[in-house]
Symmetry: none
Subunit: 191 residues, 4 copies
DNA sequence: AATGAATGAGGATTCATTCAT
DNA sequence: GATGAATGAATCCTCATTCAT
C-alpha cells in the first residue's frame, strides 16, 4: 500500500535494520533479504533506495558515525575544562548509543570491510582523523605539543577496548571510560 | 603424482596460502579454490585435509598465533629484567613476522570472524588471555597487584595499534613498540 | 499537474521514446522505466495507457510502419511511370525517416521479437505483404506475371540491406536505394 | 558422477543446447538454467565451462558459423567452374544444416544481439566479410571488377531471405537457393 | 491524469562441498 | 594421495506490474 513521502522513513528503517542485522550476525555476511525483512519491506525496495548492498552498508556506517558525532558534540558542549573536554570525548566513545553490543559488533565489521572497500575506507578514515584531532584539540592546553601524540595513543586505546568488548571481554562502558581517562590522567601527570 | 609423506607439506602450504589470501583480500571472503590454487593444489585437497573452509580458517589462525607465541618465547628468553620481559612481549607483537601488512589484515579479519564462529572465538580468547597474563606476569615484580590492570591496558593498546595499522595509519613496528613501551614506562612511574 | 486531453500527447511521446530507446540499445532489453523517463512521464503512466510493455512495443512497431507507409504513399503520389512507382517504394524504404540508424536498429529488434510474439508477428506480416504487393503492383505493367517473383526478390534484398546497415556496414540510404534499383532494372532487362 | 575428460563433451552439449534453446524461443531471452537442463547438466557447470551467459552465446554463434564454414568448404571442393563455386556458396547458405528453422531463428537472434554486444558483433563481422569475399572471389573470373559489388548484393539478398524464412515466409532452402542463383545469373548476363 | 511506492518473481552468478576415478 | 567434474543452495539484483493517493 504505497503512500507518499515514505522515502526518508524507509531509508532510516533500512539503515537501522542493517546495523541491527550486522551487529547480531557479527559480520557483513548478511543478506539484503534479511535486512529488508527486518525493516518490514521487500528486498526490492532496499535496492530501489540504496542501489545495492554495498551502498546500504556505507549508509549504515555513516549513520553510526553520525550517532557518535552527535554524542561527542553533546559531551563537548557540557564540558567546562580542557580535561573535561577530553574526558567527554572518551565518554562519548563508550556511551550507551555507541557501546551497545550490536553497535560495537557492527563497528568492528565495518573496520574489516574498510580494508577492501574504498568507500568504507574513506569514511572510516574521516572518523579516525576526527577522533584524533578532537582529542588533540582538547588536550593541547594541557599537553602542548605532546597533545597530538597523546591523542593518538588514546585513540588507539579506545579502538583496542572496542575490539575486546566486541569479543566479550570487558564489563561495561563506564569501566572502559574510566580506564582510558585514568591512563590519560597519568600520562598528563608524567609530563 | 601423489607421493607419500606429503600431508604435512600440503597442510602447511594450504595454511600459509590461506593467510596470504585473507591478508591480501583483507577479509574472509576468499574462495577455497583461490587458496588451493595459491598453494598449488586442487580445491578438493583442501577439503580432504581440513574438512572444510571453516577448519582451514581456524588452522590459519592457529598458525598465526603460533608464530606470535614463538616470537614471544624468543623475546622472553633473551630478556634479563622484568621490564625487559614486558618490553619483549610488546616487541614480539610488532615484530616483522606479526606486523607484516597481510598478517595484520588477516588478524583483523580473524577478530571479526571470532564474533560469529565459536571455534575461532575460543582460539582468540586463548591468545588474548595469554597475552594479558604474559604481560601481567612480567609486570608483577614492578607493579604488584596493579600488574593485571596495567597488562589489560597495554593489551588493548596493542590491539588498537594493530587495527590502525591495518587501515594504513601507522608507520612501522618499531614506532608502535616504542609507543606502547613509552606508555608502559610512564604508567609504571606514575605509581 | 494533470490536464485534460493529454492522452494522445502522452501516447505519442511514449511510442517515440520506445523507438528511440530500443534503437539506441539495439534490442528490446529496455526497461519501461527508461522509456517512461525519456518520455518525461512515470513508468506507471506507460502501463496506464498501454497496458504493458508488450503493447507498448507493438504500438511502436505500428508507428514505425505508419511512418513507412506514409513515405511510400508520398513517393507513389509523385511517381509518373511504373518504374518510377517501383523506384519510389524502394526510395521510401531507405528514406531518412526509415533509415536513421536507431530506426533501423529498432526494425531489426522488432523482426526478432516477431519470432516469439504473436501480435508482433501479425503486424510484421502485414507490412511484409504490403511491401511485396506494393512492389508487385508497380512492376506488373513492366514484368507481367514475373512481377510477383521480382517483388519478392527486391523485398528480400531491401531487408538484407537493412540488416547490414544495422550492423554498421553500408554507407547511406541513397547508395542502398541505388543498389536495389540497379538490380531491379537489370532484372527487368533480363526479361 | 564425475568422470575425467568430460570437458569437450559438456562444452559441445551446452553449445548445442544453447542453439536449440535460442532457436526454439526465437530470442536470446533464454535462461542458463534451461540451456543447462537441456544439455543434461547443472547451471553451475555452464558457468564453470563458459564463464557466463554471454560467453555461451558467443560460443554458440561461433559453432553455427563453423557449421556454415564447413558447408561452404565442402561445396567449394566439389565445384568445377567459377559459377559452380558461387552457386555452391549460395547453396551452402541454404543447406539443411544452416536452414533448419531453429538455426535460422538463432542466426537472426545473434544478428540483433550483435547490435549491442561487442564480441558478438566482431564475430558476425568476420562471417559477413568472409561471405562477401568468398562470393567475390568466385565471381571474379566472370564479373571482373564488378565482382565485389555483385557479391555484396547477393550477400544482402541471402540475409534478406534468411529473415523472411525466420518469419515463416519461404518454402524451403532449395527455392531460396534457386532464387539467389537466378538473380546471380541474370546479373551476370546483364553485363 | 499522474505519480512513485512497493512488490515479488525470475535469473545470473558464485562457491563450498562431494565424489568417482 | 590427488584431481577436477559436478552439483545446488544461496544471494544479489532487475524490472514489469500494481495500486493507494
Amino acid at each position: 500500500m504505497p503512500r507518499v513521502g515514505m522515502e526518508p522513513i524507509r531509508r532510516e528503517a533500512l539503515v537501522k535494520a542493517t546495523i541491527a542485522e550486522v551487529g547480531r550476525k557479527g559480520s557483513l555476511d548478511v543478506t539484503v533479504a534479511h535486512i529488508a525483512a527486518r525493516a518490514g519491506v521487500s528486498s526490492g525496495l532496499a535496492h530501489h533506495y540504496f542501489g545495492g548492498k554495498e551502498d546500504l552498508i556505507v549508509a549504515a556506517m555513516r549513520h553510526i558515525m553520525q550517532i557518535y558525532g552527535t554524542a561527542v558534540r553533546d559531551e563537548l558542549r557540557a564540558a567546562a575544562s580542557p580535561r573535561a573536554r577530553a574526558a567527554g570525548i572518551v565518554r562519548a566513545s563508550f556511551g550507551p548509543a555507541n557501546f551497545a553490543p550490536e553497535v560495537v559488533a557492527a563497528w568492528l565489521s565495518f573496520y574489516v570491510h574498510a580494508q577492501s572497500a574504498t568507500g568504507a575506507r574513506r569514511l572510516l578514515g574521516i572518523y579516525q582523523r576526527r577522533l584524533v584531532s578532537n582529542l588533540a584539540d582538547a588536550l593541547r592546553p594541557l599537553a602542548g605539543e605532546r597533545a597530538r601524540d597523546l591523542a593518538e595513543t588514546l585513540a588507539a586505546l579506545i579502538d583496542g577496548l572496542y575490539i575486546r568488548h566486541a569479543l566479550g571481554d570487558l564489563p561495561d562502558g563506564a569501566a572502559a571510560s574510566a580506564r582510558v581517562i585514568g591512563v590519560m590522567d597519568r600520562l598528563l601527570e608524567a609530563a
